[in-house]
């Protein structure tokens, strides 16, 4: 009986049809065209994500390579003359490394001098060098210039640039002053592996424990000078996981409460300018569309409501980047780790509340200003004048941003902004 009622109902209403008016189709066309115009924006968002992933991958890969590649250390190797002797030398910087076989003698691609006034580079070692080094022409991998390594006396040239006008300066001199022998070696990226070194010398060189350490003070002085300071500007892609801290957040951790929070993620762009002096780096940042969101579901009178509160700010950050690790690969490439601390000011652009897709403007209920504290860590790779950086940071709101209204006063819904940010950026050192 009941079925026939519903069947007749369906039969009758299924017959209903009528031609819609022309304006419906026109509206559909116009809105469809608008939708097509919006589509590229979505594609741009996706493109931004791809760029972000690529930049992040490059940064991570390069950092991994740097960590795996042996870094020039001045802790052992050929010995250095006393401070006075070094200061008299005309050459500016020296980085010498005598390392086990197949490793490279390095300098900062500049001529350098290392001297030894101790007796550690023994006469037997010198003799072995001079006796066994075969005459060989090598080519500098960096300059392309030919270097001749010839069998000569210990007081003569050890490795010379045959085509250089500065033969004297570039020569490796081993001065034998009795017990206090002094070795002066000009270096220009000559690979020791290119030179045939007899096994016994390799063994001697490899035995780094037999060679005394360079005094730290001297080693510090002969390090190539890493240029600190300057002004850099750049752009970063920001991906953030915002959290609005209020009673909803609190309730969502309580199983007996109806609120269920959902994480939300946003992306935006950040422009920055960094001024660096020694270890002090001050960075000014601007994020144009910094969104703080709260996405949750709640129940009222048996109905489920999906609610979303979205606050959009223009954010200005002032950050001090404290450099606690700085490694120089060569004069072009270096990387550093920075600890970030700072503060931010956000100006509210819009505040909207979505309830089951019903939008409500709630800007009047929220304060225009948002002050945050910022802390985090940044990894920065410097390639010549280009800076590639990635950072992880947290923002913590200081002020209650909820102004309140007649229904819910300010104190009943205290709300603080917070968020986790991952940035990936590129910058250029302009000064």
């Amino acid at each position: 009986m009941s079925k026939s009622f519903y069947n007749s109902y369906k039969d009758k209403l299924s017959k209903l049809s009528e031609e819609p008016t022309d304006d419906v189709w026109e509206n559909i066309i116009s809105k469809a065209i608008n939708a097509d115009e919006h589509a590229p924006k979505e594609k741009k968002k996706r493109r931004g994500l791809v760029v972000f992933v690529i930049l992040l991958s490059i940064t991570l890969l390069s950092s991994l390579l740097l960590l795996l590649t042996p870094i020039a250390k001045s802790g052992y190797g050929l010995q250095i003359a006393d401070n006075n002797n070094l200061q008299k030398l005309p050459l500016k910087s020296v980085l010498v490394e005598a390392i086990p076989t197949k490793r490279i003698i390095k300098s900062s691609n500049k001529k350098g001098v290392a001297t030894d006034n101790s007796s550690t580079l023994t006469s037997s070692l010198k003799n072995n060098f001079t006796k066994n080094i075969e005459s060989k022409n090598t080519t500098s991998p960096t300059t392309g210039k030919k270097h001749s390594v010839s069998k000569q006396s210990a007081n003569e040239i050890f490795a010379t640039q045959s085509e250089s006008n500065e033969d004297q300066e570039n020569s490796a001199l081993i001065n034998d002053d009795g017990n206090n022998s002094s070795v002066i070696i000009p270096i220009e990226l000559v690979k020791i592996s290119d030179i045939k070194i007899p096994t016994e010398i390799k063994a001697t060189l490899a035995d780094k424990d037999n060679l005394p350490l360079i005094k730290d003070s001297v080693a510090e002085k002969i390090k190539p000078q890493i240029k600190q300071g300057g002004l850099a500007v750049g752009l970063s892609y920001v991906c953030n996981n915002p959290w609005l801290l209020n009673y909803v957040t609190y309730n969502s951790f309580d199983k007996n409460k109806p609120e269920i929070m959902k994480s939300s993620f946003n992306s935006s762009f950040l422009v920055f300018a960094t001024y660096s002096v020694k270890k002090l780096n001050i960075q000014l940042e601007c994020i144009f569309n910094n969104k703080y969101e709260q996405n949750y579901q709640t129940y009222s009178e048996g109905h489920a409501y999906k609610k979303e509160l979205s606050l959009s700010y223009t954010q200005f950050n002032l950050i001090d980047k404290f450099n606690f690790l700085n490694k120089q690969k060569n004069s072009l490439l270096s990387y550093q780790l920075n600890f970030l601390t700072g503060a931010g000011y956000g100006y509210l652009n819009s505040a909207q509340k979505y309830t089951n897709n019903n939008v409500e403007n709630v800007a009047a209920k929220y304060s225009n200003s948002n002050i945050t504290l910022i802390t985090g860590i940044e990894y920065q790779l410097k390639l010549n004048r280009w800076l590639f950086s990635t950072s992880l940071r947290g923002n913590f709101g200081v002020n209650n941003i909820y102004k309140g209204d007649i229904v819910v006063p300010q104190d009943l819904n205290k709300t603080y902004n917070s968020g986790l940010y991952v940035t990936c950026g590129i910058g250029y050192l302009i000064k």
């Binding site: 109902y9 031609e19 469809a32």
Partner: protein, 206 residues
């Protein structure tokens, strides 16, 4: 449009996927009449029905890529229209601070005779259905027209299964009452306007 007369729905969908305007227009022309009828049954008035139809077709064109041809295109479009109408209903419900009619239980004994439907036309039935409260109209339509179970209705409308059942019962009762009243009025009206009765009334009134 003549050149597209013999086009089947699969080709139509493919054309729409390629964003071809003529295919989109043809799809609209083919299904808009019927879909407007669907929208009427789910909405309170014609302007809202038009709004739902418009929004529904925009969704159709935007999401045509997700149509895999597993069912009929018409069924797929109808589903979109119904879902759009449900969304409109939910938005309305949020604005209206309504009394929970769902708590009232209507017993099966009060159910009306199903034959009452045969006494009215489609348009009359539509007008009466539109007079029903939003919630029970939605439940009745989803149950009778779309073949939803009470579980599905409860999940779709965010209500309990019990509410769905009581709303359906209420809708049937209310609709039957309205049909009976409408038939009586119609009967009285048609007879009242006969010439004899008019004369009789004039005599009585003096």
């Amino acid at each position: 449009m003549g050149e597209y007369k013999n086009i089947d729905e699969r080709e139509l969908a493919e054309g729409c996927k390629r964003n071809e305007k003529k295919h989109q227009e043809l799809l609209y022309k083919t299904y808009s009449r019927k879909m407007l009828g669907v929208c009427w049954t789910y909405t309170k008035d014609n302007s809202l029905a038009k709004e739902v139809l418009q929004e529904g077709f925009i969704k159709v064109f935007k999401n045509i890529d997700s149509f895999r041809g597993e069912g009929s295109l018409e069924g797929w479009i109808r589903r979109i229209m119904v879902n759009t109408a449900i969304n409109h209903y939910k938005k309305r419900m949020l604005r209206i601070n309504h009394i929970a009619i769902e708590d009232i239980f209507y017993s099966a004994a009060e159910q009306s005779n199903e034959d009452v439907l045969s006494e009215i036309t489609e348009k009359e039935l539509l007008a009466l259905v539109r007079e029903l409260p939003d919630k029970c109209r939605m439940v009745l339509n989803l149950y009778a027209l779309e073949g939803y179970s009470h579980d599905e209705i409860a999940e779709t409308l965010n209500i309990s299964v019990g509410t769905s059942k009581s709303q359906l019962s209420y809708a049937r009762k209310k609709l039957s009452e309205k049909i009976i009243v409408a038939n009586r009025v119609s009967y009285n009206y048609t007879h009242a306007i006969t010439e004899d009765e008019q004369k009789f009334l004039q005599l009585i009134q003096g």
